[in-house]
Amino acid sequence: MAEGTQQHPLKIYFFVWILLFVFSAFSYWVDWYGFQSYTRWGLILLFMMLKAGFICAIFMHMWWERLPIISAILLPCFAILVFVFIMWHESYYTLLIRKLFFLINGG
């Protein structure tokens, strides 16, 4: 490979590999232990983001890429968050309409 040598020590791959196992075990433990509500959701999101971050940064080598390609990949993903926000509100509106409908029609 002429350009962009992506050669990294073996150590870092094993380190991330172990970390991923640990984070997965933790997220399974969240279910096992039976955390509920905000604690549960917070912990799930935390371990999810940690795992996704390490896979993306180290295994997919994004940490060592130049900023133009990183921004071309990551910036469009923020549009997803906007869509999540819109649909989150839409879903509660749908639920409200459904409840009203069944209230009136006695479902």
């Binding site: 896979i55 890429e65 879903s91």
Partner: protein, 236 residues
């Protein structure tokens, strides 16, 4: 058998000069082979596809009038006298992470032009991936036997079945395609195509070890998607 003689070095490209890179009138993604850039762009589009599935899952779950089935119980397994929650899903998660690790090492050995290690590790990745698909087939069979259908299920909100089959089915398809390509790539690596630059059967392009990294990007993405599915669908 060629061993790498060059010392291993970490190259951290400078983060300044992003505007220069974009405006250079040549190519924006410096130091990135075109195949890799194209794979990244495909993965971004695939991210959107999976996001839309997960967003529709969120919308459907929030707006469901009846109770959403508890995945911890639905996907639990009976072992002897015990009900172990989410056992199969946990095993599948660990298998996929294992395969991700072997793939990362395959990419590393690909860069070092270590033909044998690269091929063996890709083969291992493919086998882990195939076992994942097998477990998913088992899971589907189990749920279908219990009466889960895309339009109804015995546990609660009827939307559960359609979301389950759509999301895990689409992810399973990705894994299956990945496994097929991993077998092809492992064979190519083993035969020494990446060393001799033998032209591909379909594309007529010269083979390169870059292909291993591109394969790796796809495989890690499949793992990445599973991280989100595991969090939102199985744990939430």
């Amino acid at each position: 058998m060629e061993e790498s003689t060059t010392p291993v070095q970490i190259t951290v490209p400078p983060n300044e000069g992003m505007v220069k890179d974009w405006a250079s009138d040549q190519k924006a993604f410096k130091g990135v082979p075109w195949g890799k850039a194209m794979m990244w762009i495909f993965l971004v589009s695939d991210t959107f596809v999976f996001s839309i599935f997960l967003i529709s899952y969120m919308t459907v779950r929030f707006s469901a009038k009846s109770e959403w089935p508890n995945p911890s119980e639905v996907f639990g397994l009976h072992i002897g006298d015990y009900n172990v929650p989410l056992l199969l899903i946990a095993i599948m998660t660990f298998i996929l992470i294992t395969s991700s690790g072997t793939m990362a090492l395959a990419v590393k050995y690909g860069y070092e032009k270590n033909r044998k290690m690269c091929a063996i590790l890709m083969l291992a990745t493919a086998i882990f991936g195939a076992s994942f698909v097998g477990m998913q087939a088992f899971e589907w069979t189990k749920l279908i036997m219990e009466g889960v259908r895309p339009w109804a299920n015995p546990f609660g909100a009827p939307q559960f079945g359609s979301i389950f089959f759509m999301v895990t089915g689409f992810h399973g398809t990705h894994v299956t395609i990945g496994v097929i390509f991993l077998f092809i790539m492992a064979r190519k690596a083993w035969r020494g195509d990446f060393d001799t630059g033998r032209r591909g059967f379909f594309t007529s392009q010269k083979s390169h070890y870059e292909a291993v990294e591109i394969m790796g990007l796809y495989w890690h993405f499949v793992d990445l998607v599973w991280v989100f599915i595991f969090a939102f669908f199985y744990l939430w």
